[in-house]
Every structure is written in C-alpha cells, then in structure tokens.
C-alpha cells in the first residue's frame, strides 16, 4: 500500500491545522487519556446544553493519525444530540474495525481514515479521541490508557 493511501491529504491537513484544538474553560464534561503505545495523550472537552453537544475541543499531543482523527471528530459531532453522537462513535469504531462500509455520504472527511484499517497497530491511534469523547460524555473524567505496552 502506498504511503499516500494511509496519509491522505485531508489527514495531513487536519494534522497541520487541527480544528478546535484548544482548552475549553467551563466545559461541562472532559476526559483525559493516554495511549502508552505511542505516547499519544489527549484531553477532550464537551460543552453540552439541552441534551445537545454544542462544542467539542481537544488538546494533547500525538501522531498524525490520532491528531487528525481528533480534529475531524470535533467537527463531526458538534450540534448533535447525545444519541446521534453515540451513533457516530459506534459507526466510526465499526469503520475502524473494518465492519462498516466507509462511504463518504455517511462519514464525510472521516472516510479518509479508512486506510488505517490495514495497519492494526495504528487503529488505536485513530480511535483514541473517540474513546475519550465517549468517556467524557459518560462522566468518566480520567481514564486509564487502553494499550498497555
């Protein structure tokens, strides 16, 4: 597989110019987590009102896959209800597990990450921010790393 099938242009764009990468003082929900496998660590903030996710931001460091996935995630879930966000998280995990057909209508820019499926070690990087978002919504706060090494 050629390198540019894994590192699509849109991934590199979100990596170099991450969207919503900022602190969110006063966020109702947040969660931090690290992936000891590759040193990625991420905190996700959620501003929620009336059952809707009105703003999502993240801070942290990591590889291009984890950072771009976090960046795209913040745009993909904003303005959605909790149920819709849960559905998105489930669908994204399905795509990363190779179980859900990744078409652009359903996934938008996130479809760029489907190349990661062929690199099992990197799937953890792509899913990290989504795990943290789910745990933030569940009120977990601090979570243990998911990939002990």
């Amino acid at each position: 597989m050629a390198l540019d099938e894994l590192y699509k242009e849109v991934i590199l764009d979100h990596y170099k110019n991450p969207r919503n990468k900022r602190e969110m003082p006063g966020a109702e929900l947040s969660c931090s987590k690290n992936n000891p496998l590759c040193g990625d660590e991420i905190t996700v903030f959620v501003h929620e009102d009336g059952g809707k996710v009105l703003d999502v931001a993240f801070v942290g460091q990591g590889c291009s896959i984890s950072q771009s996935s976090a960046s795209m995630m913040t745009e993909a879930v904003v303005g959605k209800s909790r149920d819709e966000v849960d559905e998105r998280i489930g669908a994204f995990r399905g795509m990363m597990a190779g179980e859900v057909e990744a078409d652009e209508d359903a996934f938008g820019e996130l479809v760029a990450l489907k190349g990661v499926v062929k690199y099992p070690v990197r799937v953890k990087c792509a899913v990290l921010a989504w795990d943290v978002l789910q745990e933030a919504l569940a009120g977990v706060g601090e979570a243990e790393g998911s990939a002990p090494h």
Binding site: A2, L3, L6, Y7, L12, K16, P36, L37, C38, G39, D40, E41, Q61, G62, C63, S64, I65, Y119, R122, C125, H149
Partner: protein, 417 residues
C-alpha cells in the same frame, strides 16, 4: 569454536556476515530490507536456524530421566549449552548459570528468589532513571511484598550516569543496586567495575541487566565482580525465549527456588520437599531445550567473530550514525562519545511523531522502533513522549545508516517538516 577466518583487522566484514542471515535477503515493501532494530530483537544466522532444525530432526527428547540415546544426546547438548554460555561470560563454573527465557524472567527470578528471602522492611533497592521496565517493576513488586523501598538514581542531562550519584545514595540500608550494563535507549554504559566495588563496600549486591551489554561487548563476570548478570538470548543472534542468568554460587545456594515443580526437586513428601543444587533448583518443568541449544550456536558464531571485533564494528557504526543523524537534523539522545555508549541511537526528527516516522521508514524497507522502549521513567526525564530508535548489530553496514538517513529525508518531505 575458535574459527578465526572472519577476524579482520579488529573489526568485521559486515557484508559477508549479512549474507549468512537468510532474512536479510528479503524484500520489504519492494525495497531491500534494512534491519535497524536489533536492540529489540536480533536476526538469526543460518548456523542457529540449522542447529534448531537439526535438534528437532535428530535429537529431540526430554532431559535427564529417559534412558534412551536421544535423551542422552539432548541432555548433553543442553548442558553443553550451559558450559558454552558460562565460558562466554567468564563464569567460573557452569553451575552458576541458570537458564531462563531471558532477562525479564531472570530479573523476576532474582527479585523473588533472592529478594523475598533476604529483603526486610526499610531495606533499600537502587535503580537508575534509564532502566528498562523489567529492571524496575520486579523490584517494585518485591518492595511491596517485603516493606523494602526503592530509590531512583538520576542520570545527567547528557545521558551519562555519574557514579558519584549512585555512591551518594548508597547507605547501610542499601541491599540491591539494579543497573543496566548498557541502556536500550541511550546506549549509555555505566562504570560497572567502580559501581560494583562501591556497592559491595556498602554491603549491597549488584544485579546487572545485561540485555544490551552481553550481545555487544566482551563481558567477564569475574572481572566485573557482579553478583548477578542477566542474559537475553534473542538479542544476541539466538532464538526467542532463550537466555539465562549468572549468579554468585553462594547466593544461588542461599536463595529460595523460584518456580516449583518437576526436575527442580530432590525428594517430595506430602508436607515438604527438598531441592536440587543450583542451577537445577531454578529450572522447573520442561525447559526451553531447543532454544538454549540454539543460543549456544549463536554464541559460537559470536565467538568466531570475536567480541572485541563486534564492539569495534559497532563503535565505528555508532560514530558514523551519530554524525549522519546529526547532519540530517535529528537530535540524538545519550552520550555523543562512541566510547561511552553502545549502538542504540534514539532520536527525535523534525517534530515528526515517532510513529509517523517509523511508518514512512517501513515503506522504505527500513525497520526501526518507535515508542517509549519500555522506559517510561526515562522518557519523562528526556521530556519526550516517545523516540525513534535505530540500533546496530554485526550485520549492519554504513550503507544501512545511509538508507536510514535517505528515508528520514523522505519522511521530512512527506510531512513538510
């Protein structure tokens, strides 16, 4: 042993050596394989692969008790491997060499069989900031169980270990100095002879993690005067799950067994058992027979090369690698003087995350290791989440370093760094 034709003028003919490793002929992602991850695991020469095959095709049987020819052959080969390993590290007596699956198991054996017997509440265990997790975690576990406490020895900003920092922490309470012989991240080689003398003067034993030291340097436990040295076979051309430990005989005698079971006992009664003398006291159940016999073949291969020559070859490659990586814009961690270090070059390159970097290098056929290298304490000290590490062995050439640098430059272009 004592094959001398490959002994060159104090160094190695790495190209000729490379041809004796079948895997190094393969193509990866359409490119010739450039294997720079020997600190992780080494590749195996044809001689080792053939020895394992021959063992299973001609000699396989369980050890010691069976009375047929195969078992006698297998036993002689296995005990012969012990003699070979003892000779390789300068151990005075094969009985001082215990076979294990490698350094992790060896350190756990020492921490449990020696530590739980002899450590008391308030006793102190010293280890350094650059230890591998396998020379930290077993000591934390035994400290928890015995009430002993662990103390961290700091390293210097340049990645060296100042012996006086160890000596400043040695007190009458210090019972163990657990220290690497060569850092798997920084390549740093502590002053073991001085540190051993100082630790002994304070009444502590010295446990050397030899995972990176033994494969790359001439080692003589009698000269070093260490109490324990742990050995990883798969990092020195041998099979995975081969290796062992050297222990001072009086310590091995006084220690408890580690695993209980068959082969390590003299007599078993319903309420108690008696145990064999070292080393068999520590070898319960069916051992890794083929692996240790394969390790002996690896040692004979290294002895034929000459360990002084191995060290000289790697020192040259390390000097070349330090310069080439520096010129390419990489920051290399650890000592800059090749005399003070081994050939594990951990670096940070143009703010490209190590995992991204290693992925691009893989596409170029270059195998390196990204991550924390089982040294999270050290990563925090260095202030990085992870590094990329290239590491050398007998089959590596300057062309391999050139291929690494070319691949780095490609990664730099790709990520626009």
């Amino acid at each position: 042993m004592a094959v001398t034709e490959r002994r060159g003028a104090g160094t190695l003919d790495a190209k000729a050596i490379k041809a004796e490793f079948p895997i190094l002929e393969r193509i990866s992602h359409g490119k010739p394989l450039v294997y720079l991850d020997s600190a992780n695991t080494s590749q195996k020469p044809r001689a080792v692969i053939d020895t394992i095959t021959e063992y299973y095709e001609r000699h396989n049987a369980n050890l010691y008790r069976a009375v047929y020819e195969l078992a006698e052959e297998a036993t002689a080969m296995f005990e012969g491997a012990r003699t070979t390993l003892a000779r390789f590290i300068g151990a005075p007596d094969p009985s001082t060499v215990v076979f294990t699956r490698g350094t992790t198991e060896s350190i756990n054996l020492i921490a449990n069989a020696w530590g739980r017997r002899f450590l008391r509440e308030g006793d102190e265990i010293l280890f350094t900031e650059m230890e591998h997790h396998s020379n930290i975690v077993p000591w934390q576990l035994v400290a928890e169980a015995t009430g002993a406490v662990t103390r961290l020895v700091p390293i210097e900003d340049d990645g060296t270990l100042d012996p006086s920092k160890v000596e400043a922490l040695l007190t009458g309470r210090t019972k163990v100095l657990a220290i690497t012989g060569q850092s798997n991240v920084l390549g740093t080689m502590p002053a073991l002879e001085r540190l051993t003398a100082s630790a002994h003067a304070a009444g502590a034993i010295v446990v050397v993690d030899g995972a990176q030291l033994v494969p790359h340097n001439p080692v003589d436990v009698a000269t070093l005067d260490v109490d324990f040295l742990t050995i990883s076979g798969h990092k020195m051309l041998g099979p995975t799950a081969s290796g062992g430990l050297y222990g001072r005989l009086e310590l091995l005698d006084a220690m408890d067994p580690f695993l209980g079971g068959g082969e390590m006992i003299m007599e078993v009664y319903p309420d108690h058992s008696t145990f064999k003398a070292p080393p068999h006291k520590f070898e319960a159940g069916t051992m890794n027979i083929a692996e240790e016999i394969g390790l002996a073949a690896a040692i004979e291969y290294l002895e034929a090369l000459g360990m002084e020559n191995v060290r000289n070859h790697e020192r040259e490659l390390t000097a070349y690698g330090l310069e080439a990586l520096g010129a390419a814009g990489a920051t290399v961690f650890g000592p800059k003087d090749p005399e003070l270090r081994g050939g594990a070059l951990s670096f940070w390159y143009k703010d490209i995350h190590p995992h991204d970097l290693a992925q691009v290098l893989d596409q170029e056929g270059v195998c390196v290791r990204p991550g924390h290298h089982c040294a999270q304490v050290l990563m925090r000290r260095l202030g990085v989440p992870a590094t990329t590490r290239a590491s050398f062995y007998v089959y590596n050439t300057k062309e391999d370093v050139d291929a690494l640098v070319a691949a780095l430059e490609k990664a730099g272009e790709f990520f626009g760094a």
